[in-house]
Symmetry: C2
Subunit: 330 residues, 2 copies
DNA sequence: TGTGCACATGAGAACGATTACACACGCTGG
DNA sequence: CCAGCGTGTGTAATCGTTCTCATGTGCACA
């Protein structure tokens, strides 16, 4: 920058003014400065700038699992919305791991991101204190944690899960096995709770041995499916509360030679483009991932602007495709 | 930091020394400083540190498409390897878009990343000059660009594609339709070239009307498939040169009521966990994504360390599963 | 012609860390 | 008893920006 100033015969202050589009500089000096910048191939140092202005124009996004397409889509949406507003996104992958998440939150804070979007790996909220201490705007995405006082963006599955329960009961399923998410995540608990409540509401209690908790990943889905179909009274249908566990369950059922829905029905939480391609197409509860990502980014922007954005609750919806033996009617 | 120094009754220099694990400070001062840090909840400002040390301990990773699971897996591997070496990864998603890619490269350079990993969206290499000008270590991943003098990490599909060609011919396929990647990407060109050469080698020239170029995304795969099966002499098999285009092709075939492999065979480049679940399971060419990501990160580390890492070529391999009507012996 | 007023520009102090250098202190050895 | 040395600390310059003032110039007005 000093070089540019020298080269254009002005001071660094003027170069800075030109760079930041201040009103002051004369058209003539402005063009001289621009010429010098261009000639020297000068690029401003964002670090120094941020150090001075205390603004990095950057969001930190911590997601639970990058290879989970649900989160990948969210990440993409967040990034698009952020970019549209001149923000950059630093993506951190917690890999469903508490400690890694905490490490990343710390790193992002140290780098002075302007705001933080987190899909918490678990309920553990110790990291929240650090964020609050750093006075960094925070928005929770998909999952909540206890005791965090910040906007939350999530999809509400209560209605869809109730509808699914009705559909399963109508189809004649009485023994339903649930491959639930971890009890240490809000989504893990809620989905199970809503579904179980819906069943109970219609007089069909979910027996404890028919619930197996996984970790939102593929292998756990396979293990849970194996465990469930091995029960003395085999469930007539399985519900996997996440697309990766659903994938694992499918693999396991296939491996065991069980036919869907003939031997056992299957419904999965989260839609994926390949679910309709299976035989039979899989019945799912679809979440509005793109809208979730967008909404979260917008909430964060609002927070940064000093507003108090309300929580966002979008609706997940049931898409019945026949993998539970039901008739396909959307 | 000044506060910490004051609180511990030392100078900022000493605080810094404690922070950076210098040999100098006495155990006694060290603990006093640590106590003060802890008490004040002090967190060092990474920006200031980087400004001073000209090292950010950060890699920039520009990938072509975040929702493409192939790249998501690579990203995860890069991030893991980087983290293992104390580096952070800033992930940028080019969305298969040249301009967006250039913008991101520039942003990352401005933020003074210590190194750059790029999966180039196209052959356009203008952005490379900026990287070179900034004297930032660069490694290309998956795809190459013309005239970039830097280490490249990629999977070589020549062998697998040849094997696939043999397999298809053996199975009796004579009219083979190719859903190729964009001609402006090295992988798009190479895969087509290798496959076409392999066919030719066995006396079966690939006719131009049997090649349709897509853009490595789902919709283009569907369009290409539609176009190919509408040819007067319908191909007996389709080869999609990327998993997303393969997905699109599958959807289109399904929509048209064409049965795989009865009406038309299908093979896809890139494996995905759900391919084996389809009926029939899809024949694929699998790439070692995790190893690619790892290797790329290691190459970059080497480059930063001043070494001259050699290009890495890993092998893709054919996994025959029956979707081309062949026997499964893959 | 001198006073006052815009207005563009420059000088220099931050921002928060690292680090070369100088200093003070307590030892040892002649 | 003092030169000399090693050791632990502090002082201050520095990284590349931004931004507050102060300064200088030109112009209108009395």
């Amino acid at each position: 920058m000093k070089d540019v100033a020298l080269h254009a015969g002005v001071s660094t202050a003027t170069v800075s003014r030109v760079l930041n589009g201040h009103a002051a500089p004369t058209p003539e000096t402005r063009s001289r400065v621009l010429a010098a910048i261009d000639e020297l191939g000068y690029r401003p140092n964002a670090l120094a700038r941020s150090l001075r202005t205390t603004s990095t124009k950057t969001f930190g996004l911590v997601i639970s699992d990058l290879v989970n397409p649900f989160f990948a889509e969210i990440a993409r949406a967040v990034e698009q919305e952020a970019r549209a507003h001149g923000y950059c996104v630093v993506l951190a992958n917690a890999d469903e791991n508490d400690e890694q998440q905490a490490t990343y939150v710390r790193t992002l804070l140290d780098r002075r991101v302007d705001g933080l979007l987190v899909c918490p790996a678990t309920d553990d909220a110790t990291w929240v204190e650090e964020v609050v201490a750093g006075d960094v705007p925070l928005v929770l995405l998909d999952r909540t944690v206890t005791g965090a006082d910040c906007p939350v963006v999530r999809a509400d599955g209560a209605e869809a899960l109730t509808e699914l329960a009705v559909r399963l009961i109508d189809t004649g399923h009485r023994r339903i096995g649930v491959i639930a998410g971890p009890a240490v995540t809000s989504t893990g608990r809620e989905r199970l709770e809503y579904f179980s409540a819906a069943l109970a509401q219609f007089g069909h209690d979910l027996r404890p041995e028919y619930v197996v908790h996984g970790d939102f990943r593929r292998d756990s889905g396979a293990r849970a499916a194996a465990e469930l179909v091995a029960l003395p009274e085999r469930p007539t249908a399985l519900v996997a509360m996440d697309n990766l566990m659903g994938l694992g369950a499918l693999e396991e059922l296939r491996r065991l030679g069980l036919v869907v829905p003939g031997d056992v029905g299957l419904a999965v939480y989260d839609d994926q483009p390949w679910f309709p391609l299976l035989d039979p197409p899989i019945t799912v509860i679809a979440q509005p991932t793109v809208e979730m990502g967008r909404a979260a980014a917008r909430s964060l922007l609002a927070l940064i602007a000093g507003e108090q954005p309300a929580d966002v609750r979008l609706n997940a919806k049931l898409i019945a495709r026949g993998s539970c033996g039901e008739t396909n009617r959307g």
